[in-house]
């Protein structure tokens, strides 16, 4: 049997209607705990961000358009990016974070000891430690569904096909075609490029404004990329230490 194809999400925000069915379906299927009622006063967004208890997050942005007091609404369902080069996975010291046969990235809850390193490593601020539980949690791309040929819960629930699930190659082609059909100078793909700082995202987006408007980093990188350089500097500093000790004691034999 050959290895399965790389699977992912293409989230086309141009057709998102902000219904939050994805957020609800994700919570229901994955048994993600509630984290209380919190009215943020940020348009219709009362979720705020991706975190241990929100694996889909619908952002609502109200923007003025033109000079006549008109406005437009941007809505976008954010999710774990399932990076090609995933910093969370690289730095995990227990092997709890792993890559699946679908090239997605998941946390094994029975292994995670809550060290928190992945949380500082993620350049998107996705993965998070759950209060009262102590372990790190994030989107699994419904690993327990896709193995059985089902679509992830959020993609299944999405009424407008803003969230599309499938083989990543196919999704990239579909996204390119959609971008051309849309013919909007502000529209752009985000995270689709295998040459970017994380080697391309397994979950990428079509956005209608700059990424930072949606709370996304404009040019994220996997910092483990710089590890060889960092170890070299540390090695140099370590040698400096050893030399300093040797010099301090040299010629001072009692």
């Amino acid at each position: 049997m050959s290895a399965p194809q790389r699977m992912g999400f293409f989230t086309d925000t141009s057709v998102c209607i902000g219904c939050k069915a994805c957020e609800v379906a994700c919570k229901e299927w994955n048994g993600v705990p509630a984290d209380g009622l919190d009215l943020l006063g940020l348009s219709f967004d009362n979720t705020g961000q991706l975190d241990a208890n929100s694996w889909r997050h619908v952002a609502f942005i109200e923007q003025p358009v033109g000079d006549h007091g008109d406005m437009r609404w941007l809505m976008a369902s954010d999710v774990c990016k399932h990076c090609t080069h995933a910093a969370c996975l690289d730095v995990c010291p227990t092997g709890s974070l792993m890559r699946t046969e679908f090239d997605t990235v998941i946390v094994q809850a029975d292994i995670c000891n809550g060290c928190g390193y992945c949380i500082s490593a993620c350049p998107y601020g996705v993965i998070d430690r759950r209060e009262g539980d102590g372990r790190a949690w994030k989107c699994t791309l419904c690993y327990d569904r896709i193995g059985d040929g089902l679509r992830p819960a959020c993609a299944t629930a999405c009424p407008t096909e803003s969230i599309q699930y499938g083989p990543l190659d196919e999704l990239r082609e579909r996204a390119q075609a959609r971008l051309e059909a849309l013919d909007d100078p502000q529209a752009r793909l985000y995270g689709h490029d295998p040459a970017d700082g994380v080697g391309g995202q397994g979950a990428f987006f079509l956005l209608l404004d700059e990424p930072e408007v949606y709370g996304l980093p404009p040019a994220p990188v996997v910092t483990t990329r710089d590890l060889p350089q960092m170890w070299k500097r540390a090695g140099l500093a370590a040698l400096t230490m050893a030399a300093a000790v040797a010099v301090s004691f040299l010629g001072r034999r009692k």
Partner: protein, 296 residues
């Protein structure tokens, strides 16, 4: 001013509590002490050796406590030992600390052997202590500097950007705190090397920290504002006072001990200051957006 989503942070602030900057200090103290102990052992400074070996073990114990206490699931600390992962500085550090712990533990045990063992058993214990102490010293520079890689290998903007200088700041800080153990725990007659190390350590620590505070453009700002700036100012004052005291107080046990205390406090403040600056840089999205846009 760059765009953002209601000014909300893009990154998660580190989930770590104050155990982690405390460990940065105690890990450096353990490493610095082990180096001082080995030097003292080889040059015939028994009281420095004894103080430094015991300090290394004490600092190691504190480090272990802080590291386990900070876990979300402390009872699973041993899951760190199920893999060895070169891409994870924390995994590298776990193995380094484990090996160092064995060696430093044995060296300290040799130090507390009963005085009446002066036959072959005593000589064997001393030889084992020397071998273990040299082993711990060989691992110590790695132990003192891997933590810089650990925090630099994150998306935390002001840590990652400081990746070239952090290892030198931590190396200097570890040397100065190791020297402090010699200044506090041994008589001034043995203290020449500790005084030299205090000055070298402080010079490294202060110079590297200065580069971090001024050389990173927008990402130096978190080091120069708020709590981080207050801690780093205090650290510099304490370190310079400690180094000056170490040099000038060479005949006085009291001045030497006070200098040692200042150096320890300075090293602690450096670690907390650097830690706080990193945390602050995750909270304002401008520290993520502007450097990535190339406009910082």
């Amino acid at each position: 001013m760059s765009d953002s989503y209601y000014g909300r942070p893009i990154l998660k602030a580190p989930a770590w509590r104050h155990d982690i900057p405390a460990y940065l200090f105690t890990g450096g103290l353990a490493a610095g002490s082990a180096l001082l102990a080995a030097g003292a052992d080889l040059t015939g400074r028994p009281r420095t050796r004894r103080a430094a070996r015991l300090a290394a073990l004490g600092a190691l114990g504190a480090s272990t406590y802080f590291l386990i206490n900070d876990l979300g699931r402390p009872e699973r600390f041993h899951h760190m030992l199920r893999v060895a992962k070169p891409t994870s500085p924390m995994s590298v550090g776990t193995w380094l600390l484990t090996a160092f712990g064995g060696a430093a533990g044995l060296a300290a045990t040799a130090e507390i052997r009963p005085r009446r063992w002066n036959g072959p058993a005593g000589r064997l214990t001393d030889a084992a202590g020397r071998a273990a102490g040299l082993g711990a010293a060989a691992l110590a520079p790695g132990l003192a500097t891997y933590t810089a890689v650990l925090i630099a290998d994150t998306a935390v903007p002001s840590w990652h950007e400081a990746r070239a200088d952090l290892p030198f700041a931590f190396a200097g800080s570890a040397l100065a705190s190791g020297a402090a153990v010699g200044l506090i725990g041994a008589p001034p007659s043995e203290g020449g090397p500790a005084r030299a190390l205090a000055v070298t350590g402080v010079a490294l620590e202060v110079a590297a920290t200065h580069r971090i505070e001024t050389g990173l453009g927008l990402l130096s700002e978190p080091y120069r504002t708020g709590k981080a700036a207050r801690l780093l100012h205090a650290a510099r004052a304490l370190n310079l006072a400690g180094a000056a005291g170490a040099l000038l107080g060479r005949r006085s046990r009291v001045v030497s001990a006070l200098s040692g205390a200042a150096l320890l406090a300075g090293s602690l403040a450096t670690r907390f200051g650097i830690y706080e600056a990193g945390v602050a840089s995750t909270k304002d999205p401008k520290y993520v957006v502007e450097p990535q846009r190339g406009s910082a």
